[in-house]
Symmetry: C2
Subunit: 104 residues, 2 copies
């Protein structure tokens, strides 16, 4: 059985951007932390919702028709099949995301 | 389509303890915020893992053989079927939990 998971501790273990780390599994979902900076590619997930919770910094999630801006303690769930482009600012922005990361 | 969700904003809307509010759904899971104080009943969830992320205060999750203590930014996933008793301190303790709340 696993121990408690400290998000800051997990995030301190790496510095690369757009390189999510799986830290737990919940009902067959991966729980991941990721550091973001600059833009990520437009993509969508056909088979899963995409859950974002910002821990530090800011994240813009660009949808086709609008942009969702998240700060610390704010979350957004992108429904499956929706095209998005996440953009992180500033350099220190940390994001926890609970969906498997894959580009399509 | 929904907007961003601010956890503090959601938590400011109620003051009852052990009364989780569903604020979003993710891959058929309920995302809930809850305020806790004192002890909750021993229970288990046969069909779902129980995801806890503490936002403020402290939470003790008592398992049969040990206690998991969580502070802000710390999380724990109780595997389905496991018997637990959550205990919150102090009065201001806020917890976000992503599993449907039911006692069994």
């Amino acid at each position: 059985m696993s121990d408690r998971i400290d998000l800051s501790e997990k995030l301190a273990k790496f510095s690369e951007h757009w390189s999510p780390r799986t830290i737990a599994q919940f009902n067959n979902n991966d729980v991941m932390v990721v550091k973001v900076k600059g833009e990520f590619v437009w993509h969508k997930h056909d088979d899963t919702d995409d859950f974002f919770l910002v821990l530090k910094g800011a994240l813009d999630i660009q949808l086709r028709d609008r942009t969702i801006t998240l700060g610390p303690g704010q979350m957004y769930i992108v429904p499956k099949g929706l095209l998005i482009e996440p953009t992180g600012t500033p350099n220190t922005g940390d994001v926890a995301t609970a969906a498997p990361r894959k580009t399509a």
